[in-house]
């Protein structure tokens, strides 16, 4: 299926006189295979480990998963691209690979600058306070201490952590998953990104926060960035992205205007 989609791309190159767009992410026929440790029959016993070392066999507990199979697309400056597909279709894997956290088996991913990935599980420093997390997160992203002081209040206000009392001075492990996700997004969004990858990170926030983050994504796009959004909430994809890529079984099913792709996806029709 990916092959037909690919050949479509080649045939459909429009020879119009439109202005050239500036690409920020080029995904070129990417295959991703990752190794899962501790899968399989659970043979972790001492004798089996010993015999493995002696016979120099690969551990049976390592299994290879071919998560992305030959996906190609190009994203441009100022675009917000939604990624949809059922659970386990390879969306998150795709984002992790764009961020450079997963190696590609074949093909290549080219990006403008260093993409930042916001995942739902990405914990910062749980035993430190929210306040410390904001400061350290900003410093880690390369801000100077002066810039951090200047933006600190803005980040805390944006996250809305302090709306119900002084939560920012509590350790982050005491936060609910929604509060944690909100603070993480606020920290990451405090900096202008060339490419921002958001993996379900907004799903746990409340309505007011979702509205604020939509506005922030809009701003990031205006600052000539590209935003990728993985979500199972089709409405938030519709509201945020004008372009959507549908991935299924690690293959690109459809890439086009959000309206059309989401409609087909909801109907369960493949093009």
């Amino acid at each position: 299926m990916a092959d037909t989609a690919l050949s479509d791309v080649k045939e459909a190159v429009p020879v119009d006189a439109q202005q050239a767009k500036v690409p920020t992410v080029v995904v070129d026929d990417v295959h991703i295979v990752y190794k899962v440790h501790g899968a399989g029959s659970g043979k972790g016993s001492a004798t089996s480990a010993l015999s493995r070392i002696i016979t120099r066999k690969k551990s049976p507990a390592i299994r290879e998963v071919h998560a992305v199979r030959g996906v190609s697309f190009t994203a441009y400056k100022g675009e917000a691209v939604g990624l949809i597909g059922s659970n386990g279709s390879g969306k998150s894997t795709m984002l992790a690979a764009i961020a450079g956290l997963l190696p590609t088996e074949r093909g290549a991913i080219y990006t403008h600058g260093q993409p930042s990935l916001l995942g739902v599980n990405a914990a910062l420093m749980n035993d430190l306070t929210g306040e410390r997390n904001v400061v350290l997160g900003c410093l880690a992203m390369g801000m100077s201490p002066a810039q951090v002081r200047e933006r600190y209040q803005g980040i805390v206000d944006f996250s809305g952590i302090n709306e119900k009392g002084d939560f920012i001075s509590l350790p982050m492990r005491t936060y609910s998953s929604g509060m944690g996700a909100r603070l993480r997004f606020s920290i990451a969004a405090a900096k202008a990104h060339d490419v921002l990858l958001i993996d379900e990170a907004l799903a746990t926030g409340d309505q007011a926060f979702q509205n604020r983050s939509k506005k922030r994504i809009e701003e990031l796009r205006k600052e000539a960035g590209t935003v990728f959004l993985v979500s199972h909430d089709n409405n938030s994809i519709r509201e945020t992205c004008e372009r959507t890529i549908w991935i299924e079984h690690g293959e690109l099913v459809m890439d086009g205007h959000t309206e059309e792709v989401v409609r087909m996806y909801e109907k369960g029709e493949r093009p």
């Binding site: 479509d8 791309v9 459909a12 429009p14 020879v15 119009d16 006189a17 050239a20 767009k21 500036v22 690409p23 992410v25 080029v26 995904v27 070129d28 026929d29 990752y34 190609s72 697309f73 190009t74 994203a75 690979a97 764009i98 961020a99 450079g100 956290l101 997963l102 190696p103 290549a108 991913i109 080219y110 990006t111 403008h112 260093q114 990935l117 995942g119 599980n121 990405a122 914990a123 910062l124 420093m125 749980n126 430190l128 400061v135 350290l136 410093l139 880690a140 992203m141 390369g142 100077s144 201490p145 990451a188 372009r243 890439d255 086009g256 205007h257 309206e259 059309e260 792709v261 093009p271």
Partner: protein, 323 residues
């Protein structure tokens, strides 16, 4: 929406770029391959730009470390002191090391604190990547910042316990002299050495989690052969010269000897501690010997460990955080 019939066109280049392959397009706009490690000079520059992060991270961790303990940060000093007490009981009193080494308590405490500095930097370095995967996956920064920050934590701890160490040394009748200034360069060299080891162990620990099970044994062996709580020199005097020379290159011994000399130069003076036996036949403390070229060896270890460790860590930069 007229483009509905032609959805794939959103991906393909337009205008003057039409017809370029993805690779050509990426090359034209100078896009870089995702997740490729920066060059070594660029990496050093990035790391230097994160120096505020390194110190802030170290301070925050240091404060958070003992929040669940009732005595709090007091443990930073209590732990090495209790270690000293145990060693004094076993090696000083039962095995009678205190008879042969001048100012034994001060000698022992300096050794324990200095060795502890290297030991804990290595242990923290081994876990620095594997314990912070969340941070590594969430934010992008040069990963060497983590092992370096953990070494800075150990340095901060050592500086705090230095206050206690100075108290112990003074209580044993040592008067501060000009050699105390040597504490600073000795500590600085050991810092670079520790950072190098922490960087090496961080990469090893990130790849092989089994190593953290093995580390306590390796470190304990190193501690016992380095003569932290007893003087090794009487035991190796009968060895062939070549082995004695090899033994003198042990970095732990070098940094401990430097610090002991800086604190208590008198104990290296054979006129003050001639050794032998007193009238009653008891053994008398014998002056310690500072090996020739010890500063040269200390500098060599610091430079070699730091440079090799840094390059070794950088070589796998793009792989940290991959699961």
């Amino acid at each position: 929406m007229s483009t509905l019939s032609d959805p794939v066109s959103l991906s393909s280049p337009r205008g003057t770029d039409a017809g370029l392959t993805p690779k050509e397009l990426a090359a034209k706009y100078h896009l870089s391959v995702s997740g490729r490690r920066p060059t070594l000079p660029e990496y050093v520059r990035q790391l230097w730009a994160r120096r505020a992060f390194i110190t802030a991270f170290a301070t925050a961790r240091l404060v958070a470390q003992y929040t669940t303990a009732k005595l709090g940060q007091l443990w930073q000093v209590l732990t090495p002191l209790l270690n000293c007490a145990v060693f004094y009981l076993v090696f000083g009193m039962i095995l009678r090391s205190r008879d042969s080494v001048p100012i034994y308590i001060a000698w022992l405490c300096v050794g324990v604190f200095v060795f502890q500095f290297s030991q804990s930097a290595i242990q923290a370095g081994t876990r620095s990547i594997s314990d912070n995967l969340g941070l590594i996956r969430a934010l992008h920064f040069p990963r060497a910042a983590l092992p370096v920050a953990f070494t800075v934590i150990q340095l901060q701890q050592l500086l705090i316990s230095m206050v206690v160490l100075v108290g112990i040394v003074l209580a044993n009748g040592v008067t501060p002299g000009p050699t105390w200034l040597l504490i600073i360069p000795a500590l600085l060299l050991q810092c670079f050495f520790n950072t190098g080891l922490a960087l090496v162990m961080a990469r090893v620990g990130a790849k092989t989690s089994d190593i953290s099970q093995l580390m306590p044994f390796l470190l304990r062996t190193w501690m016992y052969v380095s003569g932290v709580m007893y003087s090794v020199s009487p035991y190796i005097q009968s060895w062939p010269k070549i082995y004695q020379t090899l033994y003198s290159w042990n970095p732990a011994t070098i940094y401990m000897d430097l610090m002991r000399y800086a604190f208590m130069p008198d104990s290296f003076n054979p006129h003050i501690y001639p050794g032998g036996t007193d009238a009653a036949g008891h053994a008398m403390p014998k002056a310690l010997i500072l090996p020739d070229h010890i500063w040269m060896m200390a500098v060599t270890w610091a430079v070699v460990a730091f440079v090799l460790g840094f390059v070794f860590f950088w070589k796998a930069e793009e792989e940290y955080g991959r699961g």
